[in-house]
């Protein structure tokens, strides 16, 4: 089904990647830590190495959580757009298969939120 209209109905999407000044939108989500109410969004250069997401992007948002200092980053399980992934920190977002509006989820085994409540 499509939109019924009185004439031609074809408009460009405001969210297409060329509107983001060279960046692409990437969403991050820390599983079982729902005191962060939703995944968070960032405009990031597609050539940025994935390691920079871990060192420069994630701490600014997720740092305040008491579980954060206890994360063992080598044990973290990643999912990119719903599929299990092992992103290479040296490679770029693009080369790790992270595209415009990709969702990157990370699960921290043994850390399931404040008192294990998924908060």
């Amino acid at each position: 089904m499509s939109t019924k209209s009185i004439g031609e109905y074809n408009f460009p999407a405001p969210d297409r990647v060329e509107n983001f000044h060279g960046n692409q939108v990437v969403y991050l989500h820390w599983s079982k830590h729902l005191s962060f109410c939703a995944a968070t969004a960032y405009p990031l250069p597609p050539d940025m190495p994935f390691g920079a997401v871990i060192s420069n992007v994630i701490p600014g948002t997720y740092g305040p959580h008491p579980d954060f200092p206890r994360i063992d980053w080598s044990a973290v399980e990643w999912r990119i757009d719903g599929k299990p992934a092992k992103p290479d920190p040296e490679k770029s977002l693009k080369d790790n298969g992270i595209h415009h509006k990709s969702l990157v989820e990370f699960r921290t085994p043994g850390l399931d939120g404040y008192r294990g409540s998924a908060s």
Partner: protein, 509 residues
Amino acid sequence: MNAINSGASKKRLPLKEKYRHLTRGLHWDTTYQPMNKVFPHAAYEGIKIHDWDKWEDPFRLTMDAYWKFQAEKERKLYAVLDTFAQNNGQTNFTDARYVNTMKLFLTGVSPLEYMAHRGFGHAGRQMAGVGPRVACQMQSLDELRHVQTQIHTMSHLNKYFSGFHEFPHLHSRMWYLSVPKSFFDDAVTAGPFEFMTAIGFSFEYVLTNLLFVPFMSGAAYNGDMATMTFGFSAQSDEARHMTLGLEVIKFMLEQDEQNVPIVQKWIDKWFWRGHRMLGLVAMMMDYMLPKRIMSWKEAWSMYFTEAGGALFADLARYGIRLPKYAEVATAEADHISHQNWAIFYQYTHAAGFHTWLPSDEEMDWLSAKYPDTFDKYYRPRFDLWREMEKEGKRFYNMGLPQLCSTCQIPMGYTEPGDPTSIAFRSSKYNGDTYHFCSDGCKDIFDNEPEKFSQAWLPVHQIFQGNCGGATMEDVLKWYKLDGDNMDYAQSLDKKMWDEWQAGKNRVSG
């Protein structure tokens, strides 16, 4: 026309005849232009109308009587508003936290009343039958009256409290107000029959009790006589709107069998959209009213499960069933108020009203009202934030939230059956990915991707540089926030309220 001329010599027409002249008598079939050119939107949605004369006027009101009734109501309302202002009625509220519900109302709901005024004017213009045209005209005027009375009522609060001063500016800019704005923009850009199904039926008939009653009872419970009075003043209008909404549905269903699946699809869509938007009311009822009326879950059960259930049982004879995902919405009643308040608590640095953590007593009320979910999933969240607050690190989320491409709410809702995992849904359209908070929102997008892919998502607009600049400070300046945001504990509202209370104590002591 002859009938009117010959009747002019009499002193008064019998009521029935007057009614006929002032409604059906105003119609004529055009001859210079074909009717389908004069009413170009009447057929493109696929709704087939064979006989407009079969329309049963849901209420018998002529325009002259309408003006008389409305003028009387206005006189009474403005007398109450004057008294409220002269007696400083705002000092009798239960608590200044209450005022935040009115900020939400003025910035989120009142502009929709204005859009409803425009929407019914437009839908009425496009109806090729005179019965619905006259009814739409009256509703259009009602809606204009509602937005005016609401603005007048709350202009008094604007003299004292933050959060009221930029409501029209905020409505088309503030991130969370894109939720109600896009809801109504979707409705008014649809054809006249979908608009009537969306607003007249799904919203005014099925869900209005969950919007209007909580706000007005909330006002009554919390000492806001001015708001309660504009609620009463609008109530008789609302009764008319409900009968119009139901009549439109029945008329479409009776006119042609092929209308049934189209109407059902609209009911499914607008039920889910309405449910998502009413999540704001849910958090208002459970978290923002200092003196609570009932829980959101109780209200949902009374007004949707019971009253809505009876309505859809009645519509079954036309082949209409309960809206799709009604059972999901009912299951969500255990969660949405908590999840929504959590969203606003952590983003209140960028909001036009204040938030706070529930007190011990309030948390116990929530436990009692939500025995299956509150203690297990939500109390720990508030405990964590309370600990952080005590350490001087009140929690503000520094990342901007991922928004649903349909409802535009931060994607904070959880998987049906698993409150510990966020529900992520997505679709591909024209090579791009679109994200949704639920199956309901995904279905709506998938049915009209050309429309919803145009969503003006505030977070993405900030990234594109369309909201004042790149930093949070730039964006807040663009919103024109000025002491309206942050936690209630440090607000100007609280400071003023505490001074008022101290003053009262001095006088009485």
